[in-house]
Amino acid sequence: MPENAAHGRSGNGRGLLVSILVLIVLAPLGYYVVRGTAVALGGKPSVEFLERPATQDDRCIWNMEAGEMRLHHWEHLARIREDVVRFGKRDVPGLNECRNCHQSRANFCDRCHNQVSLTPDCFGCHYYPDNEHWDPQRFPER
């Protein structure tokens, strides 16, 4: 049909380039289609729930709701840090105290951080047990 003849021009290198670009743009979609179908076919979702502390109540020692913790923990940590380092106030529990409940850094910290490609350099200096193996049953979904 004549249009095709007209647009047959784009069968050259330009056409190739453009097709490649289109593919690039659509690639992530494909990725999701694949993953989505995989999950639909009963594959295990790639993102599990985070480790819940061993303690019973779901209140953190900072007396904060989990959601807010997620959103703001590093700010609290930063503030505490300033107090400790600069003003010698050690009455507030800090990073060290976190690991009393959340025993696995891999599952408590790194999981999210990796998800969003953030590498806070706390653990370059501060000790945090890094035991990979943990058992979801111990921390039932909620």
Partner: protein, 436 residues
């Protein structure tokens, strides 16, 4: 199609036949009134001319109709000298004729004509101004389009999204971050913003914009139909499925040629315009896709286990978004260079606003991203807010700013294909046969 259109169209056709007969019309008393706007009856719209001149078309009056532009223009079809006739119409302030003319949208302003014009009439820029006008004509609501072309409206235009976002955030905060812990935003890009509310509001705006776009496109299409004197349903096939097939047959190749920049590739002045526009276009596509994905995450069946936001740096979407950002950045920068280099073509207001807005979007975006990874408080919040402001600006004014060319050019090209403008009478002849 409405009956009114039919009547007009018939009257129109009669007069056209008269002309074709070439007989000197003894001024038909019948037509004496309400014949303005009909072919042949000219009442120049001087305000239109003034508006064009105020925008990039300040040189239009210099045209002496030598036709150099048509000789040079790669897109000029043989039967109708383009852009010469558009220039003539512009000089004669034939607003209706121009705004109903799909051809003005064929031009992608390679400015070959402008550089070669012996009288410096710069047809390319004039056409740009005309396009801006036809956007203003068909956009819904019109006043926004009017504002979008007025420099002194810029504060207002920027103010609206700022106000909107501020309200959204205020509401969001009073509704109270933290969000329900079910929320899968585990580590918000900017935790000062209620993302669920942002998503909702952006989605709403997006839908409104879409509606406006569709409405505008339909107005435009109808206008072109009337101008050509054919009723709306002049597709060869009658049965709905067949119609759809026919429509696709027309639309798909056009869309492809747009994507593939067939016309840009013809531009002889500078090859790089092709690349700049290509990269900007694809960057834009990529980013919009990502945005849509994020905003519609909640209702997206492809995300069974919820969206995790923000994406990690190596997440496919994130990669795509960054690539897109870079593409737009590079493309826009080149465009700027191009315009600055070409000293007599400084570029129109609408032109610059679009480029600047795009640049602002990507630059603020990148800044926000960097600050996000650096976790620099509070700068990243401010940056992200500004970024959102510009994104919203871009989105809100899509149907009115120069960005509207996405819609109107596509419509025009499809129409041209459909009406067999380029001499290829595909659908048109078929339609005629149907009529007879």
């Amino acid at each position: 199609m409405a009956k009114g259109d039919k009547t007009v169209e018939t009257a129109d056709r009669t007069s056209r036949e008269k002309q074709e007969a070439g007989a000197l019309v003894s001024p038909p008393a019948a037509l004496a009134d309400s014949r303005d706007g009909q072919p042949g009856w000219i009442d120049p719209d001087m305000d239109f001319i003034r508006v064009l001149s105020r925008q990039s078309g300040d040189s239009l009056k210099k045209c002496i109709q030598c036709g150099t532009c048509s000789a040079i223009c790669e897109l000029s079809p043989d039967p109708k000298p383009f852009p010469r006739k558009e220039m003539a119409w512009a000089v004669w302030g034939m607003k209706d004729r121009l705004l109903k003319d799909p051809d003005v949208w064929l031009c992608h302003q390679c400015n070959d004509c402008s550089t070669r014009c012996p009288r410096g009439a710069r047809p390319g820029d004039v056409l740009a101004a005309i396009r801006q006008q036809s956007v203003a004509r068909y956009a819904v609501p019109r006043f926004l389009a009017r504002w979008a072309n007025e420099p002194y409206c810029v504060p207002l235009l920027l103010g609206i999204p700022i106000a909107l976002l501020t309200v959204v955030l205020y509401i969001g905060n009073s509704l109270g971050v933290p969000q329900p812990s079910r929320e899968r935003i585990i580590f918000p890009f900017c935790n000062k913003l209620p993302h669920w509310l942002l998503n909702v509001s952006f989605a709403v705006v997006g839908i409104l914009v879409l509606a406006a776009v569709v409405a505008g496109a339909m107005r435009f299409w109808r206008a072109m139909m009337i101008a050509d004197g054919r009723d709306g349903a002049a597709l060869p096939a009658k049965s709905p499925p067949a119609r759809i097939v026919a429509a696709l047959k027309i639309a798909v190749p056009v869309l492809w040629s747009i994507i593939a920049h067939d016309d840009f590739a013809k531009c002889t002045k500078t090859r790089l315009r092709f690349y700049s526009h290509l990269s900007v276009l694809f960057g834009f596509l990529a980013l919009s896709l990502v945005a849509v994905w994020v905003v519609t995450a909640k209702v997206n069946p492809l995300i069974p286990d919820g969206l995790i936001y923000p994406f990690g740096f190596w997440h496919p979407w994130k990669l795509l978004a960054n690539l897109g950002g870079v593409a737009i950045l590079a493309g826009c920068l080149w465009m700027v260079v191009d315009r600055v280099r070409d000293n007599e073509h400084s570029g129109a207001f609408s032109d610059w606003t679009l480029i600047v807005t795009l640049l602002a979007v990507v630059v603020t975006g990148f800044i926000a991203e960097i600050l996000h990874f650096v976790r620099l408080e509070p700068h990243r919040h401010v940056a992200y807010f500004t970024h959102l402001v510009f994104v919203l600006t871009l989105l809100m004014y899509l149907p009115y700013s120069k960005l509207a060319h996405i819609v109107y050019r596509t419509t025009a090209l499809i129409y041209a294909e459909y009406s067999g403008r380029n001499g290829k009478n595909t659908a048109r002849t078929a339609g005629r046969e149907e009529e007879s």
